[in-house]
């Protein structure tokens, strides 16, 4: 991928996706505060640009493994917002018929193969998907997303080593929001330069401003190019900032006010809007249309979710095994 600005439909899609992530995130928090949405929520505010960049850099054939902070990742795979929200409501219209929940969005047809609620556990799975892609001699690459907090755990280091050893087509996208739960990066990593640290595993490792959608797009694009060329895995540290608490309703009064204010100054979606307009990529009327459409999409998604039926009791024991024959039921 060259360092060019993508075409106008792609730019419009990126803006729309960033807006959808931001608005759906905020709406979900509102519904949760009202007590209408009973789900663990892990906001993606601050990661909108990274998610939009992945959506343009990746192909339809590529696969993704995500984590619990996955709304933007799911949108990057073009999973309809309504099925994402319906899953949050635990309804049949959700991606997993309401049996997975917000931490376990899956849509294999759109390449979101697994989403884990266990920090760092997606990386070994991505190694396996990368191995499958390599053995298939396919042009497919695998992106695994995780937060900076996940770079501390053993599975991450095992996976970096194995992916590099086997030259697997895996891109490790670290969505560095500067916080591992409620502890700042410098409080848990002796070397907070995660890209520098990961380069020691013998793979390409780059850091990029995760608030900058173009720079992120180009960096992830280069990593995907290396994966497809057989040059092995890459680590891309997208340096962002968490604009909310760790989880939907959690306290974040501990976040230094000046840091948060500086990050909000660069809030990805509005910043991208200004850039698009000022550089003449997308005109104001089109941007307004995108905004109205995003609002309607969010409204429709929440209405769809709330009207979608609950799973019937038959679903309780379905999908535990391939066949229920002979296996326990209680």
């Amino acid at each position: 991928m060259t360092n060019t600005v993508p075409d106008r439909p792609a730019l419009e899609w990126m803006y729309s996706t960033m807006l959808l992530a931001k608005m759906a995130d905020e709406r979900a928090a509102l519904e949760a505060r009202k007590g209408l949405l009973q789900a663990a929520l892990y906001p993606v505010r601050g990661l909108e640009a990274v998610c939009a960049a992945m959506g343009v850099a990746m192909t339809d054939q590529d696969q993704m493994v995500s984590s619990y902070r996955n709304l933007g990742d799911a949108l990057s795979r073009r999973i309809p917002l309504r099925t994402i929200i319906a899953e949050a409501y635990g309804r049949m219209g959700g991606t997993s018929k309401g049996k997975g929940g917000t931490m376990h969005l899956t849509d294999t047809e759109r390449g979101l193969v697994a989403t884990t609620g266990i920090v760092g556990a997606g990386m070994p799975i991505a190694v396996g998907l990368g191995l499958a892609a390599q053995l298939d001699k396919s042009n497919r690459a695998v992106v695994v997303t995780f937060g900076d907090g996940a770079t501390s755990i053993g599975s991450a280091h095992e996976s970096f080593n194995l992916a590099a050893l086997w030259k697997l087509p895996v891109v490790f996208v670290c969505q560095n929001n500067q916080w591992g739960e409620h502890t700042p990066l410098a409080g848990y990593a002796a070397n907070p330069n995660l890209a520098e640290r990961t380069a020691a595993y013998g793979m390409a490792a780059e850091a990029v401003d995760g608030f900058d959608p173009m720079a992120t797009l180009h960096t992830i694009g280069r990593a995907l190019d290396r994966a497809r060329a057989g040059d092995g895995p890459s680590f891309v540290e997208c340096r962002s900032y968490r604009l909310t608490g760790h989880s939907g309703l959690s306290d974040y009064s501990y976040v230094p006010k000046e840091e948060l204010a500086a990050a909000l100054e660069r809030d990805p979606a509005p910043t991208f809007r200004t850039w698009l307009e000022q550089n003449g990529h997308v005109d104001s009327a089109t941007l307004q249309n995108i905004e109205h459409a995003a609002e309607a999409t969010v409204d429709e998604a929440f209405a769809f979710a709330q009207e979608s039926p609950h799973p019937s009791q038959d679903e309780l024991l379905l999908d535990v095994y391939a066949s229920p024959e002979g296996v326990p039921t209680r």
């Binding site: 899956t106 070994p124 499958a132 298939d136 599975s155 996976s159 095994y321 002979g326 296996v327």
Partner: protein, 342 residues
Amino acid sequence: MTTLESSTDTTQMTIVAAIQSALDVALGLDERVLILGEDIADPIGGVMKATKGLSTKHGLDRVRATPIVEQTIVGTAVGAALGGYRPVAEIMFMDFLCQAMDQIINHAAKSRYMSGGHSPAPIVVRAMIGDSKFGAQHSQALESWFMHTPGLKVVMPSNPYDTKGLLLSAIFDDDPVIFIENMGMSYSIKGEVPTGDYRVPLGEASVLREGSDITLITYGAEVHPSMAAAQSLEGEIDVEVIDLRSLVPLDISTCVASASRTKRAIIVHGSTEFCGPGAEVATQLNDQLFGTLDVPVARLGATYSPVPFSQQLHSIPTEASIVAAIRSLRQRDTVGQSPMNV
């Protein structure tokens, strides 16, 4: 016993040879079969030699030696399964599954369910219960842990024929399977095994010995001291021996049919008696046969201790302790009757 046979040539095999043969057949049958594990490639061919020759014959792409990373071996297997492959992960000693529990329990077992059926992860994890000479971290029998996890199947064969047939069934099963071997039997137990493809279905117990006085239910390595105990009691107590072969699915109906005839049943296993598989089997038998059994169902499992290194400390049931338990069960007074000679 239902067995799908497509091969008539047989040869004497150890359990290790049966595993090697099953893996060889599976790799030959289906390009999606992969093997992952520490030291499994030639020239070493696995620490137990269960994969000897396979990387040479089927290629290092498909028989892949890994670093010492149990968690990532299983996680890679899960990912490869999600990518359409049928991976077999070798985790050497069962105790090392502790390192891989997150991928087994939180991912392999739950992936189908959490995805609403879209992302099943049909992997096989082979692991071995070691020998007490390695001490307590290489010899635990942990099958109950996996029985307690919806989504997993748990298989524990006792002989070469079943080992190969069950492993082939496990590899081509659409659910994740924990396949538990026992180091003590690896080379010592031999039997006639078809050289080609055949399957022993998961969830079908095998009646190894018919008897009319007592039903002894067991599986895995404890089959052998159980059979020896039954033989030694011949003429005194007529013991029926059932080999469960798989714990999930659990063939309780074979156990019920037997115990409803003998009226007395005991479960023998190498995992701890407390919360061991015998607790589940005994409860199900009592549920179905309460009032028709002469005495409550008995259990004989390992002591509730780590596995001791000293050979003089007997944690796991032996032929002698099984004989004693059978005699005790036989002599026990019938439920509800007061002791006659007290």
